[in-house]
């Protein structure tokens, strides 16, 4: 436990060493969100239609971008060996790193989501669900992404390989998140979709760290 927190603390310190770092993910999120109106044109009603989708996709991509460095840096500078030899099993190390990753990536995105909602002037109730959906979705994104990140260690262009491995697994999350928001905006209940998101999270939480750890061991031999 002690060591578990140590890993989280270590990664948090690394990320927060420059306060700007966290801001960066958020900015990417907002920038991508801001890009679509430029791309699809300014009609407000069209924008309103795609707002939920864009929010989800932008969040998803922001997480994707931040994934590559999740293990790569430690792998390249020899820290991964040390982590593998640390006092706690590699599965927990992986879980701890994912937790830190979410705290520095997923959480800020949830907090920043209102900005995008504003750019597309989304109604307030829709915003509430959006936040809820993101809060449930982003941890799963980090967990699943960690597996991809671990698998691609050693492969060059990991930056592109990870999305390839991970995106298909992200699709259900994406769909449920968007449907939840759409349902709310359409005046229906978002609950079922939110529950599905929760289910995915509950499922990913125990298993992905095991997979990630296995991949990390491979990378070390």
């Amino acid at each position: 436990m002690n060591a578990f927190l140590a890993v989280i603390g270590r990664d948090l310190r690394l990320a927060l060493r420059q306060r700007s770092d966290v801001a960066l993910v958020v900015m990417f999120f907002v920038l991508t969100g801001a890009m679509f109106p430029l791309a699809v044109g300014p009609e407000p009603n069209l924008l309103a239609r795609i707002a939920p989708g864009v929010t989800a996709v932008a969040a998803l991509l922001a997480v994707l971008l931040s994934l590559e460095r999740l293990f790569l840096a430690d792998y390249e500078d020899g820290n991964l060996e040390l982590l593998a030899l640390a006092a706690l099993p590699l599965e927990l190390v992986a879980l701890a790193k994912v937790a830190a990753h979410w705290l520095t990536t997923g959480l800020p995105l949830v907090i920043a989501a209102p900005v995008i909602a504003l750019l597309y002037d989304m109604p307030a109730d829709g915003l509430a669900v959006t936040l809820l959906a993101l809060a449930l979705a982003t941890p799963s994104l980090s967990l699943i992404g960690a597996v991809g990140a671990a698998l691609t260690l050693g492969a060059r262009r990991g930056g592109v390989l990870i999305p390839l491995l991970v995106l298909p697994l992200y699709v259900p999350i994406l769909i449920f998140a968007v449907s939840a928001i759409d349902a709310e905006l359409a005046g229906l209940t978002a609950l079922p979709n939110l529950l599905l998101l929760a289910a995915i999270l509950a499922f990913a939480l125990p298993f992905t760290p095991i997979a990630a750890a296995a991949a990390l061991r491979q990378a070390l031999t």
Partner: protein
């Protein structure tokens, strides 16, 4: 930062100390007069009504957004060509201020947009390009702090500022090049201003006041940066004395 040789910040400090009270006073005067004329003397617009008074904040801040970025670009060029560390500091101190003005232009603009265009935001060329300018400012600030070695961050930011400068003319002339909701320039145009003097004066006074505000803040921030640098130098000296 190799201050030790190339610049004499001492001189700058003395100058800044002497100039500060004046710029401060000028700022208060201009802003006071400008606000008074703008809010109470100047007539309401025959079609926009009272909401036109937003102009006296919106327009100057928009101008400043462009002006400050231009300054940053110039300072960056100076720092890259003549390696003058003060230029670096000016650029570093300017970008948060410029970002502030840009945000003000955006905020007042969209406040104005609600009554005029019926929406907070439209994705037209002028508005978008200003939004881009805002992100250029943010990028400049982020890059400035992205390195452990401050000198490295400054140089990198300088290069970025020069590259990003291409956006400024785009913003300025977006309204002329693309047909947008936003109205074209009526003050800063080659063939002279085309708005009534009762509106022009408060506008110019506000612009002047904003400029003095910028200069004042610039002096203060650069000064504090120099002091920080000095503190760091002392610290390093202590460390190396230990080695």
């Amino acid at each position: 930062m190799t201050m030790h040789r190339f610049a004499n910040p001492g001189r700058f400090m003395r100058f800044a100390d002497r100039a500060l009270p004046w710029t401060l006073g000028a700022m208060v005067l201009c802003l006071g007069a400008g606000l008074y004329l703008g809010l109470f003397v100047a007539p309401p617009d025959y079609q926009q009504g009272e909401s036109v008074r937003i102009m006296y904040v919106h327009v100057p801040s928009a101008w400043m957004a462009l002006f400050v970025y231009t300054n940053i670009a110039l300072a960056s060029a100076a720092s890259l060509i003549w390696r003058h560390p003060l230029a670096d500091l000016v650029a570093k101190a300017s970008s948060p201020i410029g970002a502030g003005f840009t945000f003000l232009a955006l905020a007042t603009g969209s406040l104005w947009g609600k009554p005029m265009w019926g929406t907070w935001w439209v994705w037209d060329a002028r508005l978008t390009s200003v939004l881009v300018l805002f992100f250029l400012y943010l990028g400049h600030m982020a890059l400035m702090n992205a390195f452990d070695d401050q000198a490295r961050g400054r140089k990198a930011a300088a290069i970025l500022a020069l590259v990003g400068f291409v956006n400024v003319p785009i913003i300025k002339f977006s309204v002329d090049w693309w047909n947008t909701l936003h109205q074209p320039a009526s003050v800063l145009r080659l063939d002279g201003p085309t708005i009534h003097s009762s509106m022009l004066w408060p506008l110019l006074l506000m612009a002047l006041g904003f400029t003095f505000y910028y200069v004042t803040l610039l002096f203060i921030r650069v000064k504090s940066d120099l002091l920080a640098a000095r503190a760091r130098a002392l610290e390093v000296a202590a460390l190396q004395a230990g080695e």
